[in-house]
Symmetry: C2
Subunit: 199 residues, 2 copies
Amino acid sequence: MKVTKRRAAENRSRLVRAAGKLFRQHGIDGIGVADIGKAAGLTHGAVYARFPSKQALAAEALSEGTKRTTELMKSACAAQPTIGAYLDFSLNKIHRDDIAGGCPLTASGSETARQRKPVSRAFAEGFENYVAAVQEVLADNADYATTRERAIAIAAAEIGTLIVSRAVMKADLAYSNEILAAGRRVLGEVGGEYRQTAH
Amino acid sequence: MKVTKRRAAENRSRLVRAAGKLFRQHGIDGIGVADIGKAAGLTHGAVYARFPSKQALAAEALSEGTKRTTELMKSACAAQPTIGAYLDFSLNKIHRDDIAGGCPLTASGSETARQRKPVSRAFAEGFENYVAAVQEVLADNADYATTRERAIAIAAAEIGTLIVSRAVMKADLAYSNEILAAGRRVLGEVGGEYRQTAH
């Protein structure tokens, strides 16, 4: 019985990870439940036995994916958790080029507005989780915006920078690189990066 | 003959505008050529006679839409063209709530990476056109990033701010408003808004 429960949990987890990857790759509306089930080695019916709707699966995949990427960033930067390190982790060519393995907020950003409430909620929670991580490492700038406003604006701007750099990439790789570098530099400045280090 | 040519141009223009609206509303992959034709009063065949592929139609709709929104912003702010006025024009609740009538770079941002080269090129040209408009009104900040880097980062961040505020909206309207306001304020600061006006 214990083995069966563990296996059920493993199946569910494999399904959620497979769904997340396929949603990022093809868009939430661009892939069906049958194909997701197939990728996780499950039948269409077995998927619906675990998730009442595609929206529920999309919401859980978004939650799992954002939790994973935020934790990954925090642990990768644990030795020196600064806004510069966080931005280097997120705004780089490897992440830009890996839509299937990267941040789900970025991969599904504009289409989330077309999904239903559970997906919107998962997006909001995932985004807030990321904002909180950014806020923790922000230096107080003593400027106009508060630290929280700055953390929110930086997190949203990172998503915009990655989305735009991916969107222009097939037509103009040099421009894509320029956008990525400009976002990285300016957001470091917004986060007070150059005030944290001696220069 | 002149009348026929004019009518053909009008039909084409009506088709492109209808396509743009439907792509923004449903996503580029979320609407078919037949439905777009219907909305413009044209048959499926009449659409393909004008555009060799859905990608070609999506590219032209993106071009037309970005040109329109950038020109709209410039003319609306012509009396006082400042970064603050531009940000007020773009980052507000009316624009957030009007995905079908708003900026196509925002509506189709994350899914453009999944489209082919012509759409990517239209996105790149539309984005650069917007960046150039922003750059014209930026005050020199004498900080680390250049004016061009700042214009690029602001334009990408505006797209990210709108995308995130739309994505979380169904679940949490107050949070959506907070994101919009934070983006507006911080990007004004990045653009040197508070240095342009006396305070």
